[in-house]
Every structure is written in structure tokens, then in C-alpha cells.
């Protein structure tokens, strides 16, 4: 095919995919059903592959579809389905609008050593120790983190602005949402990658995808034997070079009629731009050389400086949104003796979870209660950015199973609500010496009030006072008690994680002997 239809189709298709991804990650009102999210994420290469290795079911076979697609059509995945790739295309386009020079690419040599080393490193670590390198380099997860850590705060600021205006007119269809920041360390990875991919795509098109992205490299290898590819009609070509200049992947060596298919992402810009219709997307044809150089200039530096400041601004703004709570006069003295972090329900065990999670942060952004937080050291250095339950921030809703249903890698397995209510992810521990009832001799009971299974209950203490008592057997580790406990800096009640999740006993309950009154008791 030589028409410009291909390019238009690519733009329209990728725009729809991109909007869907934005919606899924920025959906702070939980409006999008889990099923839709699963459909959208089915074809994401790395999450699907990890899920398949664990489950070996067709339901997790999205990555095989991608491989077949690549064998047939080349790296169309990178232009049509990868949210990070589409995002970079948009960024390149903006770059080209700001400075025409940024949209004049030209041919350059492949970064063969870098890209294959990264691919080998990734495959090696994945086989021997887990997903650690993927956490950093899976393009879908990188995109997810951009949205969660940098994109969502922007959306919330806009929402809150509108909600405030509407609130003035007593319209409460939009509600104000508190922007709760994450730990500062959690912003390092997304900010660094935002700068890296942002700058590279702004001035160099798809350089990131062809140099650093392991998925791009792998699909590039496969596409070397793909059936359909972009190729020259040597008799029509006048060697004007327009195609090479427009090529975001810098893979068209027009002097030798050679297109490097391992780097071509099938964006079809070259076909669209060729005045002689000498380029076509059709069955088979290949060969390779020559390049040009660009010098750094002021506007580039300015842009880089600007974007760094903006990204740091977003992270510091969201952190500044945290408000202070009045502190009771006495501070607690006993530090919680935690032995293990609490990993999300559906994980089974910390070991399994940390080996299968790519820290895409979809669960973090989707959690209605915002109890899932990026780990900064809880799982060790290798588990950096993977979600961990933070009961100082929030608690896990008894009825909620959202995170288990949307996890694209299968690191969290779907749980039915009834199963979730018996899945013990941690156990409650009470520290009497921190408790208000003991230290202040006043009533509290916030923990027991919050407990959905009554694993925390109150027993008589001094005078009219009652004090908490715990029953670990029926505790599911939801952390509502820990969250509700008003003591600072250490809580009087906390949940210690179960390294391997267990089954909690179902709480027993008997009918009360109080009966329906027939007379007024007053």
C-alpha cells in the first residue's frame, strides 16, 4: 500500500488507544469497570508474558498475539498499542512544532551493543531472579508510573478547581479530592524516566524505543523476519531523502534503498511523505548505511530545564497538599515491632508478589482508599516502587477487590469478595503501653469501632472504661484499626504482614437475647 491512509489509520487508532490508557490511569472516581481495563491491558507485552509464565492459560496469552502480529506486520505494537510509544510520538510532534529542526531526523546507525545488552540483562535477570530490570524498563509500567505520579495530580488539581467553583453554587456533582502525595523517593524513578523519554522523544523521535526499550529490541529482532514491511520501489525513488528526514526511528538509509526493520515502528510517515509514492507497505524486501549530526543549542537546554522544574514541581506540590492533624498531647513511646511489610490481597506471598510485579502502579492509582503506596525500602532495594499496604495513610476496604481484579501481570490474583474477606494478609498486634485508654485513662475504641470482623474488641478495664483485646484468628489484616488509632508517632495497634498469606477464620456470631420491646422503657 502506498496511500496516506496507513498513516491516518495509525494516528486514529493510536489516539483511541492512548485516550483509553489515559482514562484508565486517571480515573479517580472509579468509573471504568475492571473488565474494560482487563481488555485494554490484555495485549500489553510484558505484563501478559509474566502472567502467562505463572498461569499458562490462553487468557494470559496477549503477548503471543503480539509476537504473531510482529511476525506478520513488524513493530506495529510500538506505534499502535504501546502507550509509552504513542505518548512519545505526541511529544515528538510537539517538539517538531516548536522547532522544525527537531522533526528532521535523518538516518543514523543502530545502538546495537546498548540495546542487545539491555535485552540480555533483562532476559537474564528475569530467568534467574525475577522482574527487577523490568520494573524499570517495561514500557507499559513506565507509562503507568508517569500517569500515577505525575499525571493524576494535574487532573486532580483541575477537578478540585472545578469542584470548588461548582461548590459555590451548591452543586456537588464533582467532589473535592484530597491530593495525597507519596514518599519523595517514589518520585525519583518516574521523574528520571520522564526526563529521559521526554527529552529523547522531543528531539530524537523514537531513539528511546530503539536504544533502551527491551520490548522494542525484542520485537525488533522478531520483525527481522516479518512478512509485511516498508520497502523502496527503486525505480520510482529520486533519492530526495524526504523519507529519511521524516523517519522518527532514523532507520531509512535512502541512498542504499535500505530500511532497518529492527528499528522501524511502522508509523508510515515515510510512505505519506514520499512525493513519488516510491515507498510501500507490502510483502518482504531489505539491505544498510550514512548519517548526519546535530549540535546542542540553547532552546534544547531551556526545554530540559523547564521540564525538570515542572516535574519536580508536580511532585513537591502533591506532597505539600498533605495537611496536619491535631496531635494529642502525649506521644506514644513504644515503636511498633514490625517484622514484615503487608503486601496486597491476592498476592499469595511476598516472595511471589515481588517476583511478578512490574510496579506499573495501576493498582496504586485505582485503589479507592489509596492504601496502596509505592514501596521505598519495605521489600528491599529490588522491590522499589512495588505497591505495599500503608496503614498510616489509609486502610483496605472490607468489600473491595479492585486491585486483585485489574493486575495485568497476575502478581495479584483475582479474589471474590467472600474469599477476600477471609484472606489474611497480616495480623493485628496491640501495644497496650501506647493505648490512650491506659495512658490517658479516657475512652477511645477507635480501633475496635473500625474493625470489620471484630478481631479487635473491647474488654472491661478500670471503672466505666473498656480497652482493646485482639483475636488474630479472625483478623484479615485490613489495617482499619491501625489507621483509626489516633496515637502518634507510634500506633497502639498495628498490622504485621504475613510473608505468606493465610486463611482467616470466619467470625462467629450468635443471635442476641435482647427481644423486640412491647412497652416504652421510659
Amino acid at each position: 500500500m502506498t496511500s496516506s491512509f496507513l498513516r491516518k489509520f495509525r494516528i486514529a487508532f493510536s489516539a483511541i488507544i492512548f485516550i483509553c490508557f489515559l482514562a484508565v490511569f486517571l480515573d479517580f472516581r472509579s468509573l471504568i469497570p475492571e473488565k474494560f481495563i482487563n481488555y485494554l491491558l490484555f495485549l500489553q507485552f510484558v505484563p501478559s508474558a509474566i502472567k502467562y509464565i505463572d498461569l499458562k492459560t490462553v487468557a494470559a496469552g496477549g503477548f503471543m498475539v503480539v509476537i504473531l502480529l510482529t511476525l506478520l506486520s513488524g513493530r506495529t505494537y510500538c506505534s499502535f498499542l504501546c502507550p509509552l510509544g504513542i505518548g512519545q510520538d505526541i511529544n515528538s510532534r510537539i517538539g517538531g512544532k516548536i522547532r522544525k529542526k527537531f522533526r528532521r531526523y535523518g538516518f543514523s546507525r543502530p545502538h546495537t551493543i546498548v540495546r542487545y545488552s539491555i535485552l540480555a540483562l533483562m532476559l537474564g535477570t528475569a530467568v534467574f531472579s525475577g522482574v527487577y530490570v523490568l520494573i524499570l524498563l517495561d514500557p507499559y509500567s513506565i507509562f503507568g508510573r508517569f500517569m500515577t505520579y505525575l499525571g493524576k495530580p494535574v487532573i486532580l488539581v483541575i477537578n478540585n478547581f472545578l469542584a470548588n467553583i461548582l461548590g459555590r453554587f451548591d452543586i456537588y456533582t464533582l467532589s473535592h479530592v484530597e491530593i495525597k502525595g507519596f514518599k519523595l523517593a517514589a518520585y525519583i524513578v518516574p521523574v528520571v524516566f520522564a526526563i529521559l523519554t521526554g527529552v529523547l522523544s522531543f528531539i530524537k523521535g523514537r531513539l528511546y524505543c530503539n536504544m533502551l526499550c527491551p520490548v522494542g529490541t525484542l520485537l525488533g529482532l522478531i520483525s527481522k523476519i516479518s512478512l509485511f514491511r516498508v520497502k523502496f520501489n527503486e525505480s520510482k525513488c529520486t533519492k530526495c531523502g524526504r523519507c529519511s528526514i521524516r523517519c522518527k526511528s532514523s532507520c531509512i538509509d535512502f541512498l542504499n534503498y535500505d530500511i532497518d526493520v529492527s528499528r522501524c515502528v511502522d508509523c508510515f510517515n515515510c510512505i505519506d511523505t514520499c512525493p513519488e509514492k516510491a515507498l510501500s507497505y507490502s510483502l518482504l524486501g531489505t539491505r544498510s548505511k550514512v548519517h548526519e549530526e546535530t549540535k546542542p543549542d540553547e532552546s534544547k537546554r531551556k526545554f530540559i530545564k523547564g521540564s525538570v522544574l515542572m516535574l519536580l514541581g508536580i511532585s513537591s506540590y502533591t506532597r505539600a497538599q498533605e495537611k496536619t492533624v491535631p496531635v494529642p498531647k502525649k506521644e506514644s513511646t513504644v515503636k511498633e515491632p514490625r517484622t514484615s511489610p503487608v503486601c496486597p490481597p491476592g498476592a499469595g506471598s511476598i516472595e511471589f508478589f515481588t517476583r511478578n510485579c512490574t510496579a506499573c502502579s495501576l493498582c496504586i492509582t485505582s485503589c479507592p482508599n489509596k492504601v496502596l503506596q509505592p514501596a521505598t525500602g519495605q521489600y528491599g532495594l529490588a522491590g522499589f516502587m512495588q505497591p505495599v499496604m500503608d496503614y498510616h495513610k489509609s486502610f483496605c476496604s472490607y468489600n473491595c477487590t479492585v486491585c486483585t481484579e485489574i493486575c495485568p501481570t497476575g502478581a495479584l490474583k483475582p479474589l471474590m469478595p467472600e474469599a477476600k474477606k477471609l484472606s489474611q494478609i497480616g495480623k493485628v498486634n496491640f501495644i497496650k503501653d501506647n493505648c490512650i485508654v491506659k495512658t490517658e485513662k479516657t475512652a477511645c475504641g477507635a480501633c475496635s469501632e473500625a474493625c470489620p470482623t471484630k478481631a479487635v474488641y473491647m474488654i472491661p478495664y478500670e471503672g466505666n472504661l473498656v480497652i482493646p483485646e485482639t483475636n488474630q484468628e479472625i483478623c484479615i489484616g485490613c489495617g482499619h484499626c491501625e489507621f483509626a488509632c489516633p496515637v502518634t508517632p507510634y500506633k497502639a495497634i498495628f498490622v504485621d504482614g504475613n510473608p505468606v498469606h493465610q486463611a482467616a477464620k470466619k467470625p462467629e456470631n450468635k443471635e442476641s437475647d435482647i427481644t423486640t420491646p412491647v412497652e416504652f422503657p421510659f
Binding site: 472516581r29 476496604s397 479516657t442 466505666n464 483509626a484 421510659f522
Partner: protein, 306 residues
């Protein structure tokens, strides 16, 4: 009235001259002052929540006694928990709906419903059935999930609680109707009218850590008192409160209490629950502070059996 102006004038003056005077210039806030009704309390037994309310409010002279034409009304149920109505952790949605209908019938301009929930607010509003019921009756559901909605007020007579952040909708409405559900409570033994105010403020953790009973009584000193308390005792959680574990915690009592005096209302409610009111510390504390009367014998109570 412009909201900002309202806050600026009222709170500005409050800081300068003591909060007792802070709202003094606004007569409308007192338009529905309690004490105009025929009885101090009406207690009903034996009917459905809506039918009992119809009867009880009629005994008090109709909703017109409390709501004047064109006024804005806040109906504040307990929507603390993400559970279904049968578990009686939240106020009966049928009752909430009927109260709103009476408000509109009395000429209310707007009726608002909100609670600062304990569980996730979206799910609590939805699964309690209250959002649907309130909207069906024409009321507006107001979110209470963000500190942004809460404004600092001071409580000059408070012993432990001298200030609190309360939801803006309480300050912007003319009439406040408190609609708690009677429940067992693990630490205060019982929750009804007075304790329902913990869903009006933002920082209830402070109450828990600074003598909970005293804070509950202290808050009741704040000027924006309920014109009417409607205590839902239809399905009563008699143990494992305030959240409950299962249906076994609930006993059907088919009762309802209407009163402007929330100390009296809570005293009567305690007796329905079978707890000695003296043992629920905040009731005698509030009585001693002059917030209400726990000596039911001194009150003019209308008792109705359906």
C-alpha cells in the same frame, strides 16, 4: 448569601469578640430554635420507619414547626459504614427519604444530606441506600471526604474540645435535622444523637485521643444545634457496634424518637437499648453542662403505639 462573606464576617468577628457572638447578626440561624413544639419528646413504636415519622411529626405540629418556607435544610443521617441497610449500621434510608419529603412539603428550598463516613464515602453513600433514597426525594448528597469542605469554628465553653473543623454545609443551611440511628458502641456503649456529630467534624481522631466523652459533650455547645433529632430505632444493632459483623447483631425494635433535646433523646434511646444512661458518660456530662435534660420524668413526652 455569599459564602465567603458569611465566613469572613462570622469567623472574623468570632475570633475578635468570642465565638459566642460570631453568628449573632444572623437571625435566620435561630429561625428554627427549639421549644416551639407541643411536646418535649414524641416516641413512637410499632410501625414502619416512614409511617412512625408521619405520626410523630404530626404530633409536633408538622414539619412547618421546624422548617420555614424558603429555608435550606441539612438532614444529617449516620452513613458511616459501607454496609447494606439490613445490617442497621446506617440510618434507615426509608426514614431519611420521608424526612426530606416533609421538609419540601413545609416549603424548604433545598435539602442537603451528608456524613463524614468511616468507610470509603462513595461506597458508604451507595450501599447504605441513602444516596438513592435522598436523591429520589429531591435532596442533594454532599461529599464530606475532603478536609477542604471543613471550616474552623470555636467552642468557647468546651472543656476539652475548644475548636473543631465542621462541614461547610452545616454553616450554610438554616435548619439542621439530626437523624442518627441507635446502635451499640464498643467504647462509648451507645451511639445516637450526640455521637452522630462525630460525622460533622473532620478531626475526630482528636476526640478519641482527648477524652472522647467530654469532646462529644463539648461539641454540643456549638451554636448550630439541631432543630430536631430523629432517632431511628427501627432496626437496632445491639452488639458489635457501631459497625456490626452480621445480621445476628440486629434486633427489630420498630421505635422512633423525635425531640429537640438531644440529651433527653439519647437518654430515652439508651433505655431502649437496655443500657443505664448514667453509664454512658457523655450523657451525664452533657446534662451537667446544661446541654439538655436527662431527667425524662420532668419532660412532656408523648408516647404512641401503632
Amino acid at each position: 448569601m455569599k459564602r465567603r462573606e458569611f465566613f469572613r464576617t462570622s469567623f472574623g468577628a468570632g475570633i475578635a469578640a468570642g465565638a459566642a457572638l460570631s453568628l449573632g447578626g444572623y437571625d435566620r440561624l435561630w429561625a428554627a430554635a427549639p421549644g416551639t413544639a407541643k411536646y418535649d419528646m414524641v416516641a413512637v413504636m410499632g410501625g414502619n420507619p416512614d409511617a412512625m415519622f408521619d405520626l410523630a411529626i404530626q404530633e409536633l405540629g408538622g414539619m412547618e414547626t421546624f422548617v420555614k418556607k424558603g429555608q435550606k435544610v441539612l438532614v444529617k443521617p449516620n452513613i458511616g459504614w459501607d454496609v447494606v441497610p439490613d445490617l442497621a449500621a446506617n440510618t434507615n434510608p426509608l426514614l431519611v427519604k420521608r424526612i426530606i419529603e416533609h421538609c419540601f412539603k413545609a416549603g424548604a428550598k433545598e435539602v442537603y444530606v451528608f456524613d463524614h463516613t468511616c468507610d470509603n464515602w462513595v461506597n458508604a453513600y451507595k450501599n447504605s441506600g441513602i444516596e438513592k433514597a435522598a436523591k429520589a426525594a429531591g435532596a442533594k448528597m454532599v461529599p464530606g471526604n475532603s478536609e477542604n469542605y471543613y471550616h474552623q469554628i470555636s467552642i468557647p465553653g468546651g472543656v476539652k474540645l475548644k475548636s473543631a473543623k465542621v462541614h461547610e454545609i452545616l454553616l450554610e443551611t438554616d435548619v439542621f435535622i439530626n437523624v442518627p440511628i441507635l446502635k451499640d458502641h464498643n467504647s462509648t456503649r451507645m451511639t445516637a444523637s450526640l455521637k452522630n456529630t462525630m460525622g460533622i467534624v473532620w478531626d475526630r481522631g482528636y476526640w478519641h485521643s482527648n477524652n472522647l466523652h467530654q469532646c462529644i459533650a463539648d461539641y454540643a455547645l456549638f451554636e448550630r444545634k439541631p432543630a430536631l433529632n430523629v432517632i431511628d430505632c427501627y432496626n437496632v444493632m445491639v452488639k458489635h457496634g457501631p459497625q456490626g459483623v452480621s445480621k445476628e447483631d440486629v434486633v427489630q425494635m420498630k421505635s422512633q424518637i423525635l425531640t429537640a433535646d438531644w440529651v433527653a433523646g439519647d437518654t430515652a434511646a439508651a433505655k431502649i437499648l437496655g443500657v443505664d444512661p448514667q453509664k454512658i458518660d457523655y450523657i451525664p456530662i452533657a446534662h451537667k453542662m446544661g446541654i439538655g435534660n436527662m431527667n425524662l420524668d420532668n419532660l412532656n413526652i408523648k408516647r404512641i403505639k401503632m
